[in-house]
C-alpha cells in the first residue's frame, strides 16, 4: 500500500470544534479573575468551587464577546439563548455538571472564508471551562499510570466559546488554514488571546474518510490534544492516512476519541473502558435566558474592527507587500498598528521596507524577549527613521541591522546610534575606488579568470571581488556605489 493509493482512493471529511477562552477580566459566572498561571486555587470562590448554596450570575462581557464573533462571521443571532446543564462526573468539574448551551446557543449558522473557500460554522456557544488536574506518579505527568491527581480550580468557570464547524473541510491543509483564519479573526475581534500553548485556544477535529466519488460520510473519530496549529495539520494528516489504510485493508473504523501524540507523531485511542455517557441535558434553572438587546447588538456592531481577510487585502495593495507578509503582521497582536504608525512617520523609503524590518528584526526581538509589542523600546517613528537612513544611503543594510539591534535594546534613536558609533557609510568614490584598486591588484589572477570566464565564472569572480572590497572597507561601504565602481573597472 502506498500513500498514493490511499490519497487517490479516499477523501477526508473534517469538522473542527474550537474552544477559546474569552478575554474577560473575570470568570463566566463569578467575579474571580480569569488569568493564566496564577498560584493554584487562588482564583476561587463559592461559585466556581461549586460550594453548596452558591449560584451563578452571567458575565455581560462574555455575552458581548460571543456576539462580536457572531457579528463578524454573519451568524444568525437567535432572539433568545439559554443555558443547559451537561451532567457528568469528573474531578476537575466542581459541580459535576458543566453549565453550557445546548439547543438554544447564542450564535447559529455562520461562515468564514478560508483561502477563498467558505466554511460553514454550525454554532458558537458559551460554556464554562473545567479546572486542571496534575497527574502524579506516572510517566511524564500523564493520566495513565498515574498514582493520584491534584486538582487546581483556578480555570474552573473561565468563559469558553465553543465554535463548531460543519464538515466542510476536506484536507489537513485546509483544516490548518481554517484554524489560522479563525484564530486571526478572534484575535482581531479581541474575543480571545488564542494562545494554543497556554490552552486558551483548543482544537478538536472530527475526521472521517469516504471513498472518492461517494457522498455518505464514513465513521468519524475525534482527535484531541493538538497543541499547535502545526500539530492540527500533522494529526489530521496522520489520522486520514490511518483511516484510509484501515479501510484499504478491509477493516472498519471505530467511532472513538483519539489523542494526538506530538512526540511520536501518531494518534492513539483513549478508550479506557466502556463507559456510557448520557449527559442528561436540561435547562439550567439557576440562570435566565439571554435576549440580546438591539442596543447591545448596535454597540457590538459599532466597535467592529476590520477583519483579517479585508485587512490583509488592504495592506497588500496599500503597502505593496505579499499576502504572506500581511499574514505575518496580523498574526502578532499590535504589530500591524505598530507598522501603521511607522509608515505614517516615514520620510524616505517605502512601507514595504518598514514591513520587512518589522516582520524580520522586530519580530525576532519579540520572540527572543518574550514580550509583547507594547514592550518594544523602539518607537514606531524611530523605525521609520531607520528606514529613512537606509533609503538615503546614510547606512547600509548590514549597518542598519546593528543599529536596529542597539535601538531595540536601548530605545535610543537610530540616528543617535549611527552618530555615536560613527557608522555612516562610505560613499566617496575616491576612497572606494582606491580600495577597489588595491583589491584588484592583490587578486590579479581572479581578474584574469573573470575576463576569460563564461557568465557563471564571471558572476562567481565578481562576487568574490565584491566581498573582498567590502571586507577591506570593514562593511561601511555604500554597496551600490561600490558595485558600480567595481563593474567600471572590470569592464
Amino acid at each position: 500500500m502506498t500513500t498514493t493509493d490511499v490519497s487517490t482512493n479516499w477523501e477526508p471529511v473534517i469538522g473542527l470544534e474550537v474552544h477559546v477562552e474569552l478575554a474577560t477580566a473575570t470568570k463566566l459566572f463569578c467575579g474571580c479573575r480569569n488569568e493564566f498561571g496564577a498560584e493554584p486555587n487562588t482564583n476561587v470562590c463559592p461559585v466556581c468551587l461549586g460550594l453548596p448554596g452558591s449560584l451563578p450570575v452571567l458575565n455581560e462581557k462574555a455575552v458581548e464577546l460571543a456576539l462580536r464573533l457572531g457579528e463578524a462571521l454573519q451568524f444568525t443571532m437567535p432572539p433568545q439563548s439559554i443555558f443547559h446543564r451537561k451532567n457528568y462526573f469528573y474531578p476537575d468539574m466542581p459541580k459535576n455538571f458543566q453549565t453550557s448551551q445546548y439547543d438554544e446557543p447564542i450564535c447559529l449558522a455562520g461562515e468564514i472564508e478560508v483561502d477563498g473557500v467558505r466554511v460553514r460554522i454550525t454554532r458558537a456557544h458559551l460554556e464554562e471551562d473545567t479546572g486542571k488536574s496534575m497527574h502524579v506518579g506516572g510517566g511524564g505527568g500523564r493520566i495513565h499510570g498515574a498514582d493520584h491527581s491534584l486538582v487546581d480550580y483556578n480555570r474552573a468557570g473561565v468563559p469558553l466559546l465553543e465554535i463548531v464547524s460543519e464538515p466542510d473541510i476536506f484536507s489537513a491543509e485546509q483544516a490548518r488554514a481554517y484554524v489560522t483564519e479563525l484564530r486571526a479573526t478572534l484575535l482581531a475581534l479581541g474575543v480571545s488571546d488564542v494562545k494554543m500553548e497556554e490552552g486558551s485556544m483548543r482544537v478538536d477535529a472530527n475526521v472521517s474518510v469516504r471513498r472518492v466519488g461517494t457522498s455518505k460520510l464514513g465513521t468519524r473519530t475525534e482527535i484531541k490534544n493538538m497543541n499547535s496549529i502545526r500539530s492540527v495539520q500533522r494529526a489530521i494528516e496522520y489520522e486520514i492516512e490511518r483511516q484510509a489504510e484501515r479501510l484499504e485493508d478491509g477493516e472498519r473504523i471505530v467511532q472513538e476519541t483519539r489523542h494526538w501524540n506530538e512526540a511520536e507523531g501518531l494518534t492513539r485511542s483513549m478508550r479506557s473502558k466502556e463507559e456510557a455517557f448520557d449527559y442528561r441535558y436540561f435547562p439550567e434553572p439557576d440562570l435566565v435566558p439571554v435576549v440580546p438587546t438591539d442596543e447591545l447588538r448596535a454597540r457590538v456592531r459599532a466597535t467592529m474592527p476590520e477583519l483579517p481577510l479585508a485587512k490583509r487585502a488592504r495592506l497588500v495593495s496599500e503597502w505593496a507587500i505579499s499576502e504572506h507578509d500581511a499574514r505575518v503582521l496580523l498574526d502578532v497582536p499590535g504589530l500591524t498598528d505598530y507598522v501603521d504608525a511607522a509608515v505614517g512617520a516615514l520620510t524616505d523609503g517605502t512601507p514595504r521596507d518598514v514591513v520587512n524590518w518589522a516582520s524580520g528584526e522586530v519580530l525576532a526581538h519579540l520572540n527572543d524577549s518574550g514580550g509583547t509589542i507594547a514592550d518594544v523600546a523602539l518607537a514606531p517613528d524611530a523605525l521609520a527613521e531607520l528606514v529613512g537612513l537606509v533609503a538615503k544611503g546614510t547606512i547600509n543594510r548590514g549597518q542598519a541591522k546593528e543599529v536596529l539591534a542597539e535601538s531595540l535594546r536601548s530605545g535610543d534613536r537610530p540616528a543617535a546610534v549611527v552618530a555615536a558609533r560613527g557608522l555612516e557609510q562610505e560613499s566617496d568614490t575616491d576612497a572606494l575606488g582606491a580600495a577597489i584598486d588595491a583589491v584588484l591588484e592583490a587578486n590579479a589572477d581572479a581578474v584574469v579568470e573573470y575576463r576569460a570566464g563564461d557568465d557563471a565564472v564571471k558572476k562567481k569572480k565578481r562576487g568574490f571581488l565584491m566581498g573582498q572590497a567590502t571586507r577591506a572597507l570593514q562593511g561601511r561601504a555604500n554597496g551600490s556605489v561600490l558595485a558600480q565602481l567595481l563593474d567600471e573597472r572590470l569592464g
Binding site: G53, F89, P91, F282
Partner: protein, 477 residues
C-alpha cells in the same frame, strides 16, 4: 405550651432599652435546655455565638445605636442555610462537619437586622421529606405530641418556634416544606413568591422550586421576618427587583369584599381528613362573616401536580447533588480510583430517600425518557400556571388545607414513599407556579393536634395574602 413572646415585642423592647437582648436569649436557651433533648429541633445550638451577638446588640443600644428591626430576636435557621464558619449539614452525613466560608444572603440580612441566631435546625436530609424522619441525625419530635412527626422538611424550624426555642425561624419550601410542618406544629409558615427572597446560600434541592420563608407564632411576626429577608440580590439570577412590600402596615385591612375560592381538588377529595376539610370550611365561614365572598374553584390540572413535582424536583436534585463527590469538602470514602471513590462516598453519605430521588431524577432525565418524563412535567407545570391564572380572574385569594392530615406518628409513612409524597399534595401547586402561600393555624382536630389552613395568592400578592391570613388568625383565636 410555652412559646416565645412576639418577635415584634422583643425587638421593640430591646430597641427601646426596656429589655436586654441577653436576657431574652437566656430565656430561650433555658427553654432549649429544658426540652431540646426530647424534641431534637436543632443540629447545632449556637449558645456562645448567640450570647456574643446579644451582648453586642445590648452594647449598641447602650451607645444609642439602633441594632435594627429584629434587635435581640432569637432566630433559628434551617440547617440548609449557609452560615460562615458554622457547620451546615443539610442533616446529611455527606456534609457532616462542613463549615461554609460564607453566609447566605438571608443570614446576612438577619445579622444586619439585629437578629440573634440561636441554632441550625434539623431537616429531612437535603430537604427531601415531609416528616423530618429522613434526617441522618435522628428525627425531630412534634412539641404538641412527641410521638408524632413535626412535618417536614423544615420540621426542626417549625418545632423550634412551636416549642419556644426561638421566636422566629427560617425554613425552605420546595413542595410545602415550610407550610406543612407549620400546620403540623401549629405555627404560621409562609412561602413567598419565587424570586422575592434570595436563594444565595440556600443549599439547593430543586432550584426552580426552592424558596426561603418565615416561621412565626403569629402572622404579624411572619410578616416582619419576611420583610427583613425580602429583596433583590445580585448574587441570585432568579431574584426579582421588587420593592419590599409593607406587609405589616396593611395587615389589619380586613377581608371585606374579597373573593375567596376554596380549591376543590385540594379540599374535597379522598385523602383529605374530614376534620381538616371541616377546619377549612370553618375558616372560610369566618372570612365570609368578615365580608368576603366564598365559592368553590377548580384547578383541574392540580391533580397532576404531585406527579409533575416528583419528576421535576428529583431531576433538578439529581444534578444539584452531583457535587457531593468526596473531592472538595465533606465526606470521603477512600477507594483506589476516583470514580469508585465518588460512588462509595455517595452511597455511604446519602440516606435512602436522597438516593431514591437522585435515582428517580437521573432516570427521568436520561436518554429516551427526557421527553416522556421531565419535559412533559414541565408542560404540566404550564397547565397548572394557567389554571391559577383562570382562578385568579374570579378570585382574589384561594383557600385549601395545608396538609391532608394532622401530625402523624413516627414510621407511619416511611415504608411507602408514595404515601409520604401525598403529604405535599396541597402545597405543591404553589411551588410549581411560583406563587406565594401561607399556612395559618385553625384550631385542632379530634386528637388535639393543630390543623393549618392554607391561603394561596397570585404572584407578588403577599400583602393581600397576609391580610387574609391575619383575618383567619383573628377569627381562630
Amino acid at each position: 405550651m410555652t412559646t416565645s413572646p412576639s418577635a415584634s415585642a422583643i425587638a421593640a423592647a430591646v430597641r427601646g432599652g426596656d429589655t436586654r437582648a441577653i436576657d431574652v436569649l437566656e430565656e430561650h436557651l433555658a427553654r432549649i435546655a429544658g426540652r431540646e433533648a426530647e424534641i431534637h429541633a436543632f443540629n447545632t445550638v449556637l449558645e456562645d455565638d448567640a450570647r456574643a451577638t446579644a451582648d453586642a446588640i445590648d452594647a449598641a443600644v447602650a451607645e444609642g445605636r439602633d441594632p435594627g428591626p429584629l434587635a435581640g430576636v432569637p432566630v433559628a435557621l434551617k440547617d440548609n442555610l449557609c452560615t460562615r464558619g458554622v457547620a451546615t449539614t443539610c442533616s446529611s452525613r455527606i456534609l457532616e462537619g462542613w463549615k461554609p466560608p460564607y453566609d447566605a444572603t438571608v443570614v446576612e440580612r438577619l445579622r444586619a437586622a439585629g437578629a440573634v441566631i440561636v441554632g441550625k435546625t434539623n431537616l429531612d436530609e437535603f430537604a427531601m421529606g415531609s416528616s423530618t424522619e429522613n434526617s441522618a441525625f435522628g428525627p425531630t419530635r412534634n412539641p404538641h405530641d412527641p410521638t408524632r412527626v413535626p412535618g417536614g422538611s423544615s420540621g426542626g424550624s417549625a418545632a423550634s418556634v412551636a416549642a419556644g426555642f426561638a421566636s422566629l425561624a427560617l425554613g425552605s419550601d420546595t413542595g410545602g416544606s415550610i407550610r406543612q410542618p407549620a400546620a403540623l406544629c401549629g405555627v404560621v409558615g409562609a412561602k413567598p413568591t419565587y424570586g422575592t427572597v434570595s436563594r444565595y446560600g440556600l443549599i439547593a434541592f430543586a432550584s426552580s422550586l426552592d424558596q426561603i420563608g418565615p416561621f412565626a407564632t403569629s402572622v404579624d411576626d411572619a410578616a416582619l421576618l419576611l420583610e427583613t429577608i425580602w429583596g433583590h440580590d445580585p448574587c441570585d439570577s432568579t431574584s426579582i427587583a421588587q420593592p419590599t412590600p409593607s406587609l405589616r402596615a396593611t395587615l389589619d385591612g380586613g377581608v371585606d369584599g374579597l373573593r375567596v375560592g376554596i380549591v376543590e381538588e385540594l379540599t374535597d377529595v379522598d385523602g383529605i381528613a374530614p376534620e381538616v376539610r371541616e377546619a377549612v370550611e370553618a375558616a372560610a365561614l369566618a372570612l365570609e362573616k368578615e365580608g368576603a365572598t366564598v365559592d368553590r374553584v377548580s384547578l383541574p390540572s392540580s391533580e397532576y401536580g404531585l406527579s409533575a413535582y416528583y419528576l421535576i424536583a428529583p431531576a433538578e436534585a439529581s444534578s444539584n447533588l452531583a457535587r457531593y463527590d468526596g473531592v472538595r469538602y465533606g465526606l470521603r470514602v477512600d477507594a483506589p480510583d476516583v470514580a469508585t471513590m465518588n460512588a462509595s462516598t455517595r452511597d455511604a453519605g446519602f440516606g435512602a430517600e436522597v438516593k431514591r430521588r437522585i435515582m428517580l431524577g437521573t432516570y427521568a432525565l436520561s436518554a429516551g425518557y427526557y421527553d416522556a418524563y421531565y419535559a412533559q412535567a414541565q408542560r404540566v407545570r404550564t397547565l397548572i400556571v394557567r389554571d391559577f391564572a383562570r382562578a385568579y380572574e374570579r378570585f382574589d385569594v384561594l383557600l385549601s388545607p395545608t396538609s391532608p392530615t394532622v401530625a402523624f406518628e413516627f414510621g407511619a409513612k416511611t415504608s411507602d414513599p408514595l404515601a409520604m409524597y401525598l403529604s405535599d399534595v396541597c402545597t405543591i401547586p404553589s411551588n410549581l407556579s411560583g406563587h406565594p402561600a401561607i399556612s395559618v393555624p385553625w384550631g385542632t382536630g379530634a386528637s388535639g393536634l393543630p390543623i393549618g389552613a392554607q391561603v394561596l395568592a397570585p404572584a407578588l400578592a403577599e400583602p393581600l395574602m397576609f391580610r387574609v391570613a391575619r383575618a383567619i388568625e383573628v377569627a381562630a383565636s
